[in-house]
């Protein structure tokens, strides 16, 4: 049998290049090649920058400009190409001759509009020069550490997330950029962002391989609409998901079983069901909505793993305790009983209005001292695997000191801890405080329970439990 397996692709020149040629760079605002240049300047890229344009004058935006990449005569790690589709093959040949070590091809107008011929040509050129290529029809990459940023979205329109451990891969540019904007408003930071478009050369398998072994990536978040090499994706997933959590959302999951099937099995087992099966079987954390992606990313980024599903609810609002109990049940989690020792200890500390049982409602007047004492007891209790701390800031007792108490406790990383805060302006400022301190905060008990369930089910897979 012929071995069709693609060789391992080194993505480091694309992700963290020391020198970048912007092919199609332009001084004219409004041009893609202008936005790319402007971004490299705005984000403070530390490497060398070479603007390339056939009609180049001496300088473009203050950098010495070249008519062709072949004129640069210096080593080039990455070429970012945004010239019109028809002249891409010519430009790409030149990149190959200039020994560029990688390409991000931003330009659209290839297979996605039926120009498979044109796409085939660029794939051939990439192969000929062994030059890895991302795209076409993509936003490219962003690496928060090396400050490599090929996105042609102006920094005034889309915020850039802070440095962190989550890497986010999106086949779609629009899902990618909007979610990237949202991530920058979350407490967690980003390692890498990759929008890979048509996946003509570098595809989801190469990216999974790269990120699974990337030291800066703790959690991988994927938005895909399909994989091209299913069997290799599965093979790779067997290792990747054991190394780190891979949260995945697949677009286009509406059931589409084969209509004219000859067997019940074929009519039940459509393509969506197959994807779902693969996700379950090989340890992916499946997200069903864009919100899920964010909810799951932040719990995996900050919290320790646990295979146990006994979640202690701590709350300063009775109704939220009830809702949280329902949420646990709906997500396959259970509310445990405190051990005798902790019951006694808490009875001594808490005022008589507090019932010592789970969910533990410590009252609307609870301040940081009650929260801290309760969190200590729950962390000690062998009947408790994880904690959901509901901190409602509308209550008289809750203020900044409560948020700080949660952060301090979470820093010990004894057990997975999530917080729930529902509310508006005043609440949001405290949510930020907690999230900056590494606590994943959710606006409803259901979202928090879903995230905990995802964490537990991933841990069970990782530890080989049924």
């Amino acid at each position: 049998m012929v071995n069709n397996k693609k060789p391992h692709i080194d993505l480091s020149p694309i992700m963290s290049p020391k020198s970048v040629a912007v092919v199609g760079a332009s001084a004219k605002p409004g041009k893609v090649g202008n936005a790319i240049m402007q971004n490299y300047i705005d984000v403070g890229f530390q490497g060398k920058l070479y603007p390339i344009n056939v009609n180049a004058a001496d300088k473009i935006m203050g950098f010495k400009a070249y008519k062709s990449i072949l004129d640069v005569k210096e080593p080039i790690d990455l070429a970012v190409i945004s010239v019109p589709a028809e002249i891409v093959p010519k430009v790409l040949e030149e990149c190959g001759k200039a020994k560029a070590r990688g390409v991000v091809l931003v330009t659209s107008g290839f297979a996605e509009v039926g120009r498979i011929d044109l796409q085939d040509r660029i794939v051939a050129i990439s192969k000929k020069y062994r030059m890895p290529l991302m795209g076409p029809n993509c936003l490219g990459v962003m690496d928060t550490r090396s400050r490599n940023d090929t996105l042609f979205l102006p920094t005034s329109k889309i915020d850039r997330p802070k440095i962190g451990g989550v890497s986010f891969v999106s086949q779609s540019g629009s899902v990618g950029s909007s979610l990237l904007d949202l991530i920058s408003g979350e407490g967690f930071g980003l390692a890498k962002f990759i929008s890979y478009g048509n996946a003509a050369v570098i595809d989801e398998v190469d990216l999974l391989d790269y990120l699974a072994h990337d030291k800066e990536t703790k959690v991988i978040v994927y938005y895909i609409e399909g994989v091209k090499r299913g069997k290799e994706f599965v093979e790779l997933a067997k290792t990747a998901t054991k190394l780190k959590p891979v949260v995945i959302l697949k677009g286009g999951m509406t059931p589409s079983g084969a209509s004219a099937a000859h067997s019940h099995t074929a009519s039940l087992a459509g393509s969506s069901q197959a994807y779902e099966a693969v996700f379950k079987q090989f340890g992916f954390v499946e997200a069903h909505t864009l919100e899920d992606l964010l909810y799951f990313a932040k719990i995996f980024d900050t919290q320790p793993l646990t295979p146990g599903n006994r979640v202690a609810i701590l709350t300063n609002g009775g109704g939220h305790g009830v809702l949280a109990t329902d949420a646990l049940y709906n997500n396959g989690l259970v509310s445990p009983q405190l051990n005798k020792e902790n019951q006694k200890a808490l009875r001594k500390i808490m005022p008589s209005i507090v019932n010592i049982r789970l969910p533990l409602d410590i009252g609307g007047d609870a301040g940081s001292d009650r929260f801290s004492a309760a969190l200590d007891a729950l962390s000690r209790d062998e009947n408790v695997d994880a904690i959901m701390a509901i901190t409602l800031f509308q209550t008289p007792g809750a203020d900044e000191s409560v948020a700080n108490a949660i952060v301090e406790h979470a820093a010990k990383k004894l057990k997975p801890l999530v917080a729930v805060s529902t509310g508006s302006t005043y609440t949001r400022s405290h949510v930020s405080l907690m999230e900056e301190g590494g606590v994943p905060v959710y606006d409803s008990p259901d979202a928090a329970a879903k995230a905990l369930a995802a964490l537990i089910s991933y841990t069970r897979y990782k530890q080989g439990m049924p």
Binding site: G230, H262, T265, A277, K280, P466
Partner: protein, 206 residues
């Protein structure tokens, strides 16, 4: 192309998967001889086309007398003719009463290759759509997690013994489907009864 029932049964035997005692019959007398005055039998008209046999009236159940068998045989031939089913064969099988029905199936997915399915079986398979799917080959852990995924889990595997029986069966079926030239497979129903099981309908496609 549909694999002949006898060939399918032989394949099952090779993997030590039990199936119910069956025989093709070419006359009512044949069927009566097969019945041999023991318990009850079932007769079905099998063909490439007919997937929903019960709905189409191509299954005759609870046959336990010469007269019943004769009438059922002629009803089946008439029905098959009226539905213009070409090249059908009539099969007689021992009837299993009071069992729980599951389906084990196989399919080839365009992206991921051979897949194995376990579900609540019988005539409600597409009504309740209670099934779990995995990529072949599967491990014991996968098989158990498939069973755990079913809503009907406690009905079809109420105890440890039935649980391990289904897991073993699923592993064998997955091995069989992976290592044979088959594009689709329906073992539906497999009837769980009296601490054991029997595959009843065997639909394999090449």
């Amino acid at each position: 192309m549909l694999v002949d029932y006898y060939t399918a049964r032989k394949t099952l035997q090779k993997y030590k998967i039990k199936s119910v005692e069956s025989r093709y019959v070419s006359s009512a007398d044949d069927a009566i001889e097969f019945w041999n005055q023991k318990g009850m039998i079932v007769m079905k008209a099998l063909s490439d086309k007919a997937l929903h046999k019960s709905k189409s009236g191509l299954v005759e159940l609870y046959l336990a007398r010469d007269k019943q068998i004769k009438e059922a045989y002629s009803r089946l031939t008439r029905k098959a003719k009226s539905l213009k089913i070409k090249g059908y064969k009539i099969i007689a099988q021992r009837m299993i009463n009071n069992g729980k029905e599951i389906i084990i199936g196989g399919n080839i997915d365009q992206q991921f290759g051979k897949m194995i399915l376990l579900g609540l079986g019988g005539v409600y398979v597409e009504t309740f759509k209670d099934f779990a799917l995995r990529v072949c080959p599967i491990t014991r852990r996968d098989a158990l997690s498939m069973l755990n995924q079913l809503k009907s889990r406690s009905v079809i595997a109420p105890d440890k013994k039935s649980e391990s029986m289904i897991v073993d069966l699923l592993l064998k079926a997955s091995k069989m489907f992976s290592s044979n030239n088959m594009s689709e497979m329906d073992l539906n129903p497999i009837i769980l009864h009296d601490g054991t099981y029997d595959a009843v309908d065997l639909r394999m496609l090449r």
